[in-house]
Structures are given as structure tokens and as C-alpha cells.
Point group: C2
DNA sequence: CTGTTAGCGCTTTCAT
DNA sequence: ATGAAAGCGCTAACAG
């Protein structure tokens, strides 16, 4: 391994002082063209690059941001993170991606680590900021972190933590779904998936009930079931649903994974989607269009969500003020998993 | 934002010298218990953490590694990266995840960036190390990088670059697949997907042909088609296949995404999987078991692949020697997308 | 236009 | 057991 070359080495070989090399490097101050060329040649020759750690130490900014997320394997997060990372890079920031696997201890470890590494700011997704009931210990920790660097929450909040927030308009998304189903004459609608106490479920359930009420549709509490956010949860919940003797004509799912699980189970029992039951998902992950029959889903505006989050964070880093709460609209993506309610089903009600 | 607190602040408040605080921090040298307690109390009080940039500057190691990957949205990579990141963390290394989106320019940018940030080592996946024909410019760049920090390639190689390599035994995987299909009496087998010139396809195609030959099965060149690695490619290729008047009884796909696309198209034309045509994928992404009818696939040993890669990298970082080339075995995951070839098809041959 | 100097925050000899 | 001083690589005054 080559010895680490420094501006001193360059300076010596060019017969100039380190400051001159530094000036050439930063371009902040004038250097005589001849000198500059000489220095540039040697830099080129050794393929020299300034140590950005040393710079960061001096500038007191590292041009690094941390992104804490609960699961990189989930298409929602991987897509969002990819957009965020790309935008951050275009702004000169390198990202530390930190996979917490939804474990608050891991989150804490990473938060600490990011602070130690002197990141300029942190983007926080999922995990502790998604709990309806905030753990005061975790909030307190969050606040201590925020004393040191700006933090932006994406799709979450914490009681007692006054962070900037970027949010998908989940309520709007679900409302549109119910409007659609209502227009398709569905009257018996279920909501499946998510975990109790996790906001991204609670917000949706509330919007769901509100929209049903507005359309004077019945709310069957036994059709509102939670379990988790993954495919297996969808399978299990659909199983439960099929035990009941009254069955819905449409199922709204907390996300596309759950929708996939639900469709799998329904199909297993010979129930066709959408002919017998309509199913709607949320997130519009890239699979939604490929999983048969093509899942109607609420599309998150990943690009805008990620971009906005990074923009707000960078503003805060630069000491500028930013909107405390930004909401990003959704878009209903129509596919084949929904259709008009069957006539006889409508008559039943 | 709180002023950045340093060991000097701690030292002053504790009436000791900065060196003493440092000693308490590192624990490398003895400090009188009373003094230590006093210092610890103040550290606690201010929630002080040493600036790891300053440390890195001194120690000449940053405890950061870079991971360059082509697409974080692809389950193969997201799973692998997650395993690698977790293992690295357990070894005290924080990871920079760098999404190149398969763009060699972006790769170069990131490589540079990682060097600047003084990472201790780099894990390289996909992209330029997956080309059968290595671009000399890119190889040269790679070599310059390797002069500075250790680099480990995962599932790839570059002509003229003498890097350590961790590889999935793709040949073994495909060979097992053909053995399976042969045992199921398939004689007419196609290979779909991948891009010409990309090793992870070429290796598989070669293994495919070799295995067919070994079983004295015919190789139909028109059934070996490439296009890409995504779902759309699978759909398109299946379309092409259906134009031909001779059709295979089984299709081996370069990966699970292609298999999903193939199944989608076959189903669209009323061809059932596995009743009419058997399909096999590769990677065993988490969807393989969920996409109907459940895709038989070659499972990559993500855990071991990631762990081995990180272990080798860390060895190199520590100046230890490591095996130049490690191969990780695969495991055939049987599901429902393959079955015995239909009798009449067998007779046809 | 360029060199000298000090200092970012930390650790580590070398003294005491 | 502890303090003083030097230095990691770099840049920004301050001189000249």
C-alpha cells in the first residue's frame, strides 16, 4: 500500500509552500498561473487527493449525512433511500445508510455513531418515529441528538420532539381509495394489515373509517384487522377473514406487501381477484404492477418525498429556516385488482 | 445548535489536562480511579463524545468501509448489502453504501469520494466488475484505487486487476438446475435473460450448455436469448419464445426477476406453470416463494457471501493475508414452478 | 502572489 | 499518575 501522500510532499517537490498547494486545491485565492501548473502537474503525477477528514476537522462540516431506515429490503424504503441518496449527492453530500432492522437499540447505536462521525445532518425513517405512543427515553435521546445536528423525520413523528417532518399524505391516499371503491359500488369494505400503535397504520385506519362514514357505508370492526406489514401478515389476515361468515367485497391493505399476501391466500381458496373480491394496496412498489392481476395501489411520490426531505435537511444544515411540516401528495394508480362490485353483493346490503 | 464540546472543555472543568481526559476515553493507560470518576461524570454531564474525525486523522484509519453496488432496489443486492453491513458493524466498521445505478461514471465518482473520505477498504459489487470484456480505463482506475486501499470484489472480476474475489458458485447452481430438470424428464430446455457480455449471464450460459451436453440433451441456440435482468426482460423474452414454433418444456432464467416476467407472459397466453412449462429462477429473492406458483430457484447464500466478503476485506485492512478467491456454494430451493415433463412432450423428441 | 504560523480535536511520547 | 508538547493533513489569516 502506497504511503499516504500529503500537500507537504507535493509542496516539497514543487518547491512551494504547503499553503500554495492548498490554494491551488481550493481555488479560493489567486496563484500565479505558472506556479499553479507546476503544482497541478505534480498533483496529477501522484494522483493526489486532499484528505477530506482533515478538511472536515477544520471546516467543522463533513459533507456527510446519515440516513437511518428500518429495512433496506423493503421496496418502499429502498426506493425512497435511493432517491434521497442521489439528490444528496447532487448537493455534495455523501450518505451513510444505516439499517436498523426496526430495532431501537440499533437505531441508538447508529445515532451515536453518526454523531461521532460528525455527520452534518440526519434523515430518520420508520422505527421509533412511527410509534403512536412515543417512548420518552427514545424521545429524550432524539432531542439530545438534535441538540447537535439537524434531524428530519420522513413519515413519522415523536411526541415531545420538535423535528422537521416530511409526510406522505396517507389520509388523502386512503380517502381516494374509498371514493374509488364507493364509485365501484362496493359497500362492504375491509381494512387489513399493519401493527397497532404504528402510525402509518393508525392514520390509514382513521382515514378509512372517516371515508366510510362520509359515504354512509357500514364499518365492520371485525373486518379491520392488524398483524404486520409483510406478505405473511397479509396471508394470515386473509385466512382470518375467510373464517367469518360475512365477507367483504373489497379489501383495502395497509401496503402492497400485505395486498400480495391477501391475494395469494384468496387465490388459494379459489376466490378470484378482482372478480370475487377487489383488493387495493399502498405504496405502489415496483412489484404492484407485476404481481397478478396487477395491484391497484396508492403511489407514493418517492422522488419528491426524498428530494424534499434532503432539501429541508440541507437548509437546516446551512442554518436557513425551513417549513416545519411538508406534505407530499399521493396518486392513485389504477390496475386490475379492483372492479365493480358484483350485483348480488350490492343487493345483499 | 450546541457548541461542539471538546476534551479541552472537559479537561478544564475537571481541572485535569486534556491528556488525562484522553486516557480516560481510550482506557489505554492507567488513571487514578478518583480522577477517572471525576472526568467520567463531566463527560456524562455534557454527553460528550470524542470527534471520530480527529481520531481517524491521527490513527490513519477511519473504521469506515465503502460498499459500491449497482442497484439497491434489487433484492439480491439489498439482501446481500444488509448482511454485509451488519457484519461490518459487528466488527466496528461503518459502511458507506454507494448506489451506482450501474453507471460507471457514478462508480468513479464514488470511488474517488470514498478515497477522499479515507475509508479503510471497499467492497465492490456489480457494474464494471461484471463485464466479460474489461474496459482498460476502468481497470486502470481500479488499480489506482487499490494502491491506496484494499478492495474486494463480490461476484465479479476485471482483467488486469488482481483483486480478492468472493464468488457465488453460479456454475454449480446452474448445473444442479439442469440435473433436476433432467431427472424430471425435460429434454427441451431454454435459457432466458441477462445481458451479453455480463459475466453473471455468461457463466450461467456456459454452465447451462455444458450440463446439457453432459446429459446428451440438445442445445437449441434460438432458445438461448438475452435482453436484461429485470422483469420486463423476462416478459419480452417469453414473448419471443412463443413466436417460435418449437417450444421448450422448461425454461431456466438468469435470475428470479426474469423468471417472474416469463411466468407473467406465459400465463397471459394461457400457458400454465408448471403444468405446461416448468420455470426455474436464480437468486432465491424473497419474492420467489410468494410469486405464484412459487418459483424454484437457486439460493444464494447471502449471509455467507456477505460475511466472507467483509471478513476478507477486514483481513486485508489489517495487513493480514487472505484467500485470493473464495467460492460460496448455492442451494437449490425447490418450489412449485417445476414438475415432471408431460408425457407427450417427452415422446416428441 | 507566496511563505509562515496557528489551530481544527485528538492521542501519545516524554518528562515530571 | 499526570502534564506539556508535538503532530495527524489541511486551510486561513497575517505578513511580506
Amino acid at each position: 500500500m502506497k504511503k499516504n501522500i500529503t500537500i507537504y510532499d507535493i509542496a516539497k517537490e514543487a518547491n512551494v509552500s504547503p499553503s500554495t498547494v492548498s490554494r491551488v486545491l481550493t481555488g479560493n485565492e489567486r496563484v500565479k498561473p505558472v506556479t499553479k501548473q507546476k503544482v497541478d502537474a505534480i498533483i496529477e503525477k501522484y494522483n493526489f487527493r486532499p484528505n477530506s477528514l482533515a478538511r472536515s476537522l477544520l471546516y467543522k462540516q463533513s459533507k456527510m449525512i446519515g440516513i437511518i431506515l428500518p429495512d433496506i429490503n423493503h421496496p418502499f424504503f429502498s426506493t425512497l433511500v435511493q432517491k434521497s441518496e442521489a439528490h444528496a449527492l447532487s448537493l455534495g453530500y455523501t450518505s451513510f445508510l444505516c439499517n436498523s432492522m426496526n430495532d431501537t437499540d440499533v437505531e441508538s447505536t447508529y445515532l451515536q455513531n453518526l454523531i461521532d462521525k460528525q455527520v452534518d445532518g440526519i434523515l430518520f425513517l420508520g422505527g421509533r418515529i412511527n410509534q403512536v405512543a412515543t417512548d420518552p427515553k427514545l424521545a429524550e435521546e432524539m432531542n439530545r441528538i438534535m441538540d447537535r445536528v439537524p434531524v428530519v423525520f420522513v413519515n413519522g413523528e415523536m411526541a415531545g420532539v420538535d423535528a422537521h417532518v416530511i409526510q406522505t399524505d396517507e389520509k388523502e391516499g386512503i380517502t381516494n381509495v374509498i371514493d374509488l371503491l364507493h364509485n365501484l359500488n362496493h359497500q362492504r369494505i375491509a381494512f387489513l394489515g399493519g401493527e397497532q400503535g404504528v402510525t402509518s397504520r393508525e392514520v390509514k385506519v382513521n382515514a378509512f373509517k372517516e371515508a366510510l362514514a362520509r359515504h354512509h357505508l357500514p364499518i365492520h370492526e371485525q373486518w379491520i384487522m392488524n398483524e404486520g406489514f409483510d406478505i405473511e401478515s397479509g396471508e394470515e389476515l386473509a385466512n382470518h377473514l375467510l373464517y367469518l361468515n360475512e365477507k367483504p367485497t373489497a379489501i383495502v391493505c395497509v401496503n402492497d406487501f400485505v395486498a400480495i399476501g391477501v391475494i395469494k391466500t384468496l387465490n388459494k381458496f379459489g376466490i378470484r381477484v378482482p372478480e370475487d373480491i377487489s383488493v387495493v394496496g399502498f405504496d405502489d412498489i415496483y412489484l404492484a404492477k407485476d404481481f397478478p392481476p396487477g395491484i391497484t395501489s396508492v403511489s407514493q411520490n418517492y422522488e419528491e418525498l426524498g428530494k424534499t426531505a434532503v432539501d429541508v435537511l440541507v437548509k437546516l444544515i446551512n442554518g436557513e429556516s425551513a417549513k416545519k411540516k411538508s406534505t407530499v401528495p399521493t396518486k392513485l394508480q389504477l390496475r386490475n385488482s379492483c372492479q365493480l362490485a358484483k350485483r348480488e353483493e350490492v343487493d345483499k346490503e
